[in-house]
């Protein structure tokens, strides 16, 4: 079942309700302090700084993003030290200067420590806590060391109801579990005992479960608890061995690459490109020779990984068909240290992260066009911050933007040179303002459904009002008229958008119809049975768990593969994005051509470039449809 697709037509009349501020999406947090540290104590009890331990810091952070009650699950022998670790933390972390601090639920949370003998017991405890509490749940590995914004991004984002904190970057590899996501939704996930084909993202140990999915979570936790209660199902242990084999290969390659860099520093900075020479590794991972340090790390992580019930729950949720979204770490700091040395490294690293700067930088939409990214976003984010400090809401900014857009259309409608130039300038101001509203929303996390709708509708309104203005202006001052061109440009643009929407909807539909293998099966392939693949299929660590069985590659697939590989060439990704003629480029074309020439030129360029873009995107989608 895809979501976002409608239920019945009937609209139940509901009392008018202001869209914001939304109540805290998360009311209960469960922290899993079950990973053993070096000294035989829980790794989460390691000290972070003079005033806090890792678990204490995390408990305060989850409380500040809305969790009114925090449960910490740990092993019976660690209960005392975990309680000490929690008591040691300072009253509340300083949130000064945080634009979203108003969203944080204030007050000290109630923290309860619970003992559980093993992962199966952890799962039963999670099921019980989920049943006894209302609202959304946050489940996190207790050793997670990150910035509050990363947790807030997951907890407060209404676009992710149930979801995970994840990254597409290298953070967390190779020890965190991998996931594959498509269109912002996790379609397959790994756990210590489950593999994932073609992973795209890494699960960073924090899972949010919406109220609506609580029953699914409870059922998943109980099911997993039952099948892991007396030993593991067939094939599960092989999977964990396979993963440890992958770690060996990854660490060996990393060490080798470091060695190569020392010898010739400039040649190997290309990450994971298949063209770079690769280290030949023995087929049996146990024969891989590692440094003592790496061996020790693998031994430690090997003791940590079987406790990873958070990842197991992600697998179970995904495989029961729940819609699990993805909240990205962006460029925030994340680590999961389990030794004092790891903490030390994290402390040095985190200093390089300016939370507000990262937040501001990541308020810029990830995949924007060339013009927007290089000519608008660099300064519009500062306007967004200014607007946030002035207390402007995204919807106010959106409204200002559309009014300026109408002013631009009116100026264009004069048809005079001064009008065209004024209109061009106003249109650029309107476009900048339009970028600001989204950045402001992301920066202050004031997402609202109304805001998203207003933004989308007003964007289109602005653009087509400008078309009309240009055509009116042309008729007023020139002999002929350009209404046919204006109508053609309008048609082309709406048809292009309609194709984008429809392609997206069709893909959603495919994802929604996906059947998932049962949770007992380690492989994520339907009907793959229980036998895991041998570890030797590991290629580059770009996708350690991902090797398709060899099968004949069709021509469209080969073309697509080649096309995607082109993205690695510096700059080419921008060319591709420009060809698709996104909104920033369109508005730039309108402004420049209208100011320098006239409306006829504007429409001619819009039609020519738009036509190329339509052909280009159509060709890509056609190939992908054939390749499926």
């Amino acid at each position: 079942m895809t979501t976002g697709v409608t239920p019945p037509r009937a609209q139940t009349p509901a009392p008018p309700r202001p869209p914001a501020p939304a109540p805290a999406a998360v009311t209960t947090a469960i922290l899993l302090a079950t990973a053993p540290g070096e000294d035989g104590d829980a790794a989460a009890t390691l000290r972070w700084d003079a005033s806090e331990t890792v678990i204490g810091r995390l408990a305060a952070q989850v409380a500040s993003v809305g969790a009114a009650s925090v449960h910490v699950i740990t092993r019976p022998e660690w209960v005392a030290s975990v309680e000490r670790a929690l008591g040691r933390r300072a009253a509340a972390p300083g949130l000064a200067g945080d634009p979203a601090s108003t969203l944080a639920g204030g007050g000290a949370p109630a923290v309860a420590v619970e003992a559980s003998p093993d992962p199966s017991g952890d799962l039963r405890a999670i099921a019980r806590i989920a049943r006894d509490s209302g609202g959304g749940l946050l489940i996190a590995q207790g050793e997670v060391l990150t910035q509050r914004e990363a947790l807030a991004g997951l907890a407060a984002d209404p676009r992710v109801s149930t979801g995970i904190l994840a990254t597409v970057g290298r953070v967390g590899r190779p020890f965190q579990q991998r996931t594959r996501s498509a269109r912002g939704r996790v379609v397959s996930a790994a756990s210590p005992y489950h593999g994932v084909t073609k992973p795209t993202t890494t699960f960073l140990g924090v899972l949010k479960v919406a109220e609506a999915d609580r029953e699914t979570l409870i059922a998943s936790a109980e099911r997993l608890a039952a099948i892991t209660a007396d030993g593991l199902p067939e094939g599960w242990d092989d999977e964990i061995q396979r993963k440890m084999g992958i770690w060996r290969a990854v660490l060996a390659r990393a060490a080798w690459r470091q060695e190569m860099d020392r010898e010739s520093p400039l040649e190997h900075d290309v990450d994971d490109d298949n063209d770079t020479p690769e280290l030949e590794l023995p087929e049996d991972p146990s024969e891989i020779v590692l440094s003592d340090e790496d061996e020790a790390e693998i031994a430690r992580r090997g003791k940590v990984v079987p406790n990873d019930v958070a990842a197991m729950l992600v697998v179970a949720l995904v495989r029961s068909g729940a819609q699990v979204g993805v909240s990205h770490l962006r460029k925030l700091f994340w680590a999961r240290p389990i030794t004092p040395a790891g903490i030390e490294r994290a402390r040095l690293d985190i200093q390089e992260y300016d939370e507000d700067k990262v937040l501001l930088d990541s308020s810029v939409k990830a995949a924007d066009g060339f013009f927007t990214t290089f000519f608008v976003s660099p300064y519009s984010k500062y306007i967004a911050r200014w607007a946030a400090r002035r207390g402007l809401t995204p919807n106010q900014v959106t409204t200002i933007s559309v009014l300026i857009g109408f002013a631009a259309a009116a100026a264009f409608a004069t048809g005079e040179r001064w009008g065209l130039i004024t209109g061009a300038v106003l249109l650029q101001i309107a476009f900048t303002t339009d970028c600001v509203d989204g950045q402001l929303a992301r920066y202050t996390r004031q997402f609202s459904k109304l805001g998203a709708w207003l933004d989308s509708v007003f964007d289109r309104t602005k653009e087509y009002a400008v078309f009309a203005g240009l055509a009116i202006g042309y008729s007023a001052t020139q002999a002929g008229d350009v209404w046919v061109l204006a109508g053609a440009a309008l048609t082309l643009q709406t048809v292009r958008h309609q194709m984008d929407f429809s392609f997206g909807a069709a893909r959603q539909q495919v994802i929604g119809e996906t059947k998932y293998p049962p949770i007992e099966q380690p492989s994520d392939r339907l009907g793959a049975g229980v036998a895991p693949k041998p570890a030797r299929e590991v290629t580059a660590d770009a996708g350690p768990e991902a090797v398709d069985p060899p099968r004949p590659v069709s021509l469209p697939r080969r073309v697509l593969g080649l096309w995607r590989r082109l993205d690695r060439m510096p700059g080419l990704i921008w060319v591709k994005r420009m060809v698709a003629f996104p909104i920033g480029e369109r508005f730039a074309v309108i402004s420049i051509t209208a100011a320098l020439w006239d409306a006829e030129t504007t429409f001619a360029v819009l039609l020519a470039w738009g036509g190329v873009a339509a052909t280009y995107t159509f060709a890509g989608r056609f190939l992908r449809s054939v390749a499926r």
Partner: protein
Amino acid sequence: MNQALTVYRDDGQFAVALAKLGRHVPVPSAVFAVLGALLVLVPALLAGEDADESAAGAAVIWGMLIGGLATGRAETGSFRWLVPPAIRLTEYAGLLWLGAVAGGSGVPAAFALICALAFRHYDLVYRLRHRGVTPPAWVDNIGLGWDGRLFVGVLLLEFGALPAGFFILAGIFAAVFVTESVAGWTGTVRSQETAVYEEEEDEGQ
């Protein structure tokens, strides 16, 4: 099963009736949709505004009939995503051509009409995405569906009621679509399902 693509098509009564026929033809709906669009687009580009009124009308009706075979049913097949854009192309290009053939301010009138329709078509997408709902049936009925609008457009042309007819339709549609959509926000419907956010201009990796 896939409501989204069905909603995007914005079908009227003709399309629903034609679909009963189309269902028996073992050809993917995308083929009909693209064929219908070509039946309008090619003569429109070749003959332009000088086309004979009845010839243009006939071409548009043919495009509508063939395109209609693609609609009224649930979308399946790898190319199902082609149906809504092809239908949009048939409709907008058809209306624009009819306006051009009518002469005078027929094209600006068609432009105004298309603007009103574009509001509806974006709104269909956005309200489904952000609120998980579709417009009430009475709005769909007033909107006539893409097929109904093309049919009315041809009638208006044949009876010499253009461009006034387009301006009037544009006014009625704009009033109904915008008012109803805005009203929908004041009595906010709380959807149980999550809004799915997609990037608009996703050019696909």
